[in-house]
Structure formats: C-alpha cells, structure tokens
Amino acid sequence: MSLAELFSLLPVLVLAGASLLVLMLGLWLKHLPSLVALGVAACAAAGALAVLVPPEVMEVGGMFSAARYARFFLVLWAGVVAWTLLSSVRYAAARRFQPGEWVSLLLFAGAGMALLSAATSLVGMFLGLEAFTLVLYILIAFHRGSAAGTEAGLKYLVLGVTATAVLAFGVALVYASAGTFHLPEAMAGVAGDSPLRPLGLLGWGMLLVAIGFKVSLVPFHLWTPDVYQGAPAPVAGLLAAGSKGAMFSAVVGLLAGIGLGLRDLTPVLWALSGLSMLLGTLAALRQENVKRMLAYSSVVHMGFVLMGLLDAGPEGQEAVVFYLVFYALVSLGAFGVLTAFSGEEGEPQQLAAFRGAGYRHPFLAAALAVFMLALAGVPPTGGFMAKLGVFAAAIRAGHLPLALVGVLASLVSLVYYLKLVIAMYMSAEGAPPSGSPLHRGTRLEAACVGVCLLGVLLLGLAPGALLDWIGSLL
C-alpha cells in the first residue's frame, strides 16, 4: 500500500474521512444544516478530486480501481449522497435524526458504493458491498419513532446477512476454482475460453442469488416493497438510486471477465430479467401505496438493466451504465418529491394522499408526473433513452423475446405510473387529499427535485454528452 495508491484513492478517502469527521463533530455539534453543509462539501470535494486529479495508479491494493469507470461512479454516488443530504434537511430535522450519525452514515454509504463500483477483486467487491449494506441496515431503521422503519430494517437485515453468507460462499467457490480474487483473472479462471466449470457454476449460482437479492430481482425481491415502505423516504431513494446501481456497476465488471462463460449464465440471467420485469410489473399494478409501487417498479427496472447486461459488448455495458445514471436520477427525484411532501408527522404514501396535488403543488407534482413518465420510459424523458439502450442491447444479443417481455412490461407498467399522475391531476374536482395535507416543500427541496427533473429531461433530449462520457469509460 503505497502513498501513490492512497493518493489514487483520495476521493473515497475524502468521503470516508469526512464521515469520520462528521461523526466526531456530531458528538457536540448538533446543528444539522452545518453538518450537512460539511458533508456536501466533502462530496463536492471528492467529486472534484475524482474529476480533476488524475490517479497515479490505476488499481489500488489489487482490490479497487481508480480508473475512469470507478471515478465516474464515484462522482455519481458522491452526487447522490450530497443530493440526499440536501433534500432531506427538513425531513431529518423534523424527525430529530441524530445529525452527526445521519450525515456520517450517508457519507460512508457513499464511500461504500464508490468502493463497490471500483472493486476489481472479489474481496473488494465484498467489502464495498458490506460497507454500505451495513450502513443501510442502520439508515433504514434510523427513525426510531417509526415501527415500520424498525421492521423494515430488521427484515432487510436478516435477509441481508443471509444473502451475505450466500455471497461469501459464492466468492469462496469462485476463489476455490480460480485461485484468485482478482476479478478478470478469477473470472477467466472460472471460465476461460470454455464453458464454466462446475465449481464456477456453483459459485456463480451463489453470486447471482446474492446479487439478485441486493438489486431485488424476482424471486429475491420480496424484501423490496416492505423496506421501501418502511424506510425513511430519503433512505429509500438512496437504496433505489445508489445501492442497486452500485451493485450493478460491479456486476458489469464481473460479467465482463467471464467471456464465453456468459453463455452458461445467459438462460438464468434471462429468466431473472424476464421474471423481474413481468412479476414486478404485475405486483406493482395493485399497489395503493406509492412507495411500495416504486419498490416494485425498481424490481422491474432492475430487470431491464439485467436485460442490457445480456449483451456483454461495450454497447451493452454502455446502455447499462446509462440506465443506472438515469435510474439514480429518477428515483432520487421521485423519492425527493415524497420527501418534500412529507410533513412533520408522516410521509404521504397512499395514492389518495396525492389527489389534486397537481393544482396545489404545481411544481413538485409536475416533477413527480415527469418522473413517473420517465419510469414508464416515455419520451422525451431519459427513461426512453435508457430503455432504448437496453432494448437495443437485448436485440443485439439475440434476445428478442426478452425485449418483447420488456415491451409488455413497459406497457402494463404505464398503468400504475399513470395511477399516480391521475391521482394528482385527474381525480374528482378539487378532491382534498385524504389524511394530513401534503407539505409544500422548501425551496431547497424544490431545487433538488428541479435538478433531477432537469437531468431526467436532459437525458431524454440531449443524452449525447453523457453517452460520450460513458463511452469513454469502457
């Protein structure tokens, strides 16, 4: 571990260090906004470092990459964390979250996600994944006043540790068959230029279960709605935008290494993707709870991302990364609106709570409507370009039936996305929302939502720049 290596990892260290600093500061400084400011500054610094300061070495400790791909995701996750911090200031304050812990945990989650995205070895992957998963266990149950939060945290925890064990077994098996943790070699050792070896298959089976759990693919998705529902809205946003994205960004690296062996996995990936798209869509259809709906929708979207992964070429990876960026933006945005609508007491979750919101809260509701359309993949939002990419990838890889499943899912999914839009704009004349009224949202929250809105629209109308950037990563 040389200094050069540490220097190359500086952006992550900034995040982790800041989280430590905030944790300590938080012991006596209970002023949330200033801690948030500090955290955001750290994120900004990390992002700036990642972009501006070229790394001296490309790989740190044989575990983490400092290459462009990793840096890209670091910027993304730092942004996600900063965004979450900013958009949840009022939310956290209203629920009397411990400021130090709150900010510190979020920052560390960002660091963990960055590490996962940067992982070049199975150990790195494992550690990065566990780092932010552990933090998420805490964050989900962070609101102690909320029974649902605690229940969600517990469920995620028990399932998560089980999945961790499965993941570890998978790592062990891959290691056993390849003799190294380092990704390209390990994957090549498992597969090489031949079909996967039996141990490799076994290991991959375990890995896929764990990955499937983390990104919530059917049938490993069952925790998702419960956890989304119970978790505080900003955390659910982070879960959707960050945790899944980070996992997938690592999977891109995993799958890139196995070459021909991918053919052995393809049917399983195919089935996982197809099931996720179909069953996720079906389950979302009947949800009256917006957060649960978004949870199932994330199941569907992860199915889409997986579809993109079936094309192992750079185009497929590009499509996946673009999808992840889009999905991060849109889920942050959607949960950001929920955060902004949340009052002192609770979050609006039932569809009925949104009735007439389009006229009382024009901007936030319009943004939410755009996010819903984006999730449905309707142009001119980024969702369309994202889906275009993965559809193209699926067709390129010869999986037209899967693309058709995707089309079907997109079509049906429209129904539940529109439900929310309908509730906001087309419910009975002047229907007051049931339960407590929606909060108006602060300027900061509106600005945060606005950033996502702009991003989502830009990705749909002028995705060229991002596509070029992503193209340069791979």
Partner: protein, 172 residues
C-alpha cells in the same frame, strides 16, 4: 494421521451443527454451535491457517457466541414458547429445498476437476499472513475497521430506547 483427524473433526463439527440446528432451546443450540466452532478451528489449523483458527476461537466462539448467549439470557427465553419446533408442514419443504441445494452443490463440486485434487499441505505462518493482510489487504482492514465502527454507532443508534415507541409513520 491428519487425514483421520480431519475426518473426525469434520464429523464432530457436522454433528454438533446438526444438533445446534435441531435443538429446541436457544442456549443448547448456542452451546452446540460453540462446540462445532472449536472443531472447525482445529480444521482450520489442519488446513494451514493457524491464525484464523485462533481468531475463530477468540472471535467467534468467544465473542460472538457469548454475545448471543448474553442476549438469550437477557430475554430469559421461555423454552416452551420461544423455541418450539416448527410444524412438520413447514419443516419438510424446508428440508426438501435444503436437500436440493445440498445435492446440487455436492454434485457440482464433485463434477469439478479441482475437487479431485488433494489439498496439499500448506501453512500460512502468522508473519506471512500478517504481511499479506496488512500489506496488500490493508485497505480491506481499513474498511473492516470502519465497518466495526459503524456497527457500534448503529447498535447504539438502533438499540437506544429513549424514543417513545409506536410512531405511526409508514404504516399501511
């Protein structure tokens, strides 16, 4: 010789684990598990991982299991109520799934050429191990330390009971 010891230890570990899994009472289960962990530690040693073996005993058998025991004691679990055997209706599917997983794992493991290879004698000296761990994997250690730190923070945050229970947020 070590081969025989390995098999004996394996048998011990597995039987203890089985007993752990099937015991009614939590305390019994934990004690059996500690038993299994000891056997496992010895197996680690046989496989050339003395340091890991030591930590297995210290951390797992020593710290973690004691923590469990502590919690079990704290709640004074009522054997009759808390540790009832699952109903057969629920047992058999689980056993079946487990059996399938096991069978598939074993079949795949035996099908692999690596499985036929014998495990050569190997010994990772504590020094070499330490160099590897704090050299190449230093960053991992850092991450692990962060994890432990945040685990502490988390345990504190989650377990602190000063807030009134029963806030209605997020209910269906």
């Amino acid at each position: 010789m070590s081969t025989v010891i390995f098999y004996v230890l394996s048998a011990t570990a597995l039987v203890a684990t089985l007993l752990c899994v099937t015991r009614k009472q939590a305390v019994h289960a934990i004690v059996y598990l500690i038993n299994a962990l000891f056997a496992l530690a010895l197996m680690f040693y046989l496989l050339g991982a003395p340091l890991v073996a030591a930590w297995e005993v210290i951390i797992y058998a020593g710290a973690i299991m004691v923590l469990f025991l502590f919690i079990v004691m704290m709640f004074e679990l009522d054997p009759a109520r808390e540790a009832q055997r699952p109903a057969p209706a629920r047992r058999w599917p689980v056993v079946l799934i487990s059996a399938v997983i096991l069978a598939c794992s074993l079949a795949l493991a035996f099908a692999d050429p690596a499985g036929q290879a014998g495990v050569p004698g190997y010994y990772a000296s504590p020094r070499a191990f330490g160099e590897l761990m704090f050299g190449e994997y230093a960053l991992g250690v850092e991450v692990a330390s962060f994890l432990l730190l945040f685990a502490a923070v988390g345990a504190y945050t989650v377990g602190r009971g000063d807030e009134p229970a029963g806030g209605g947020e997020g209910r269906r």
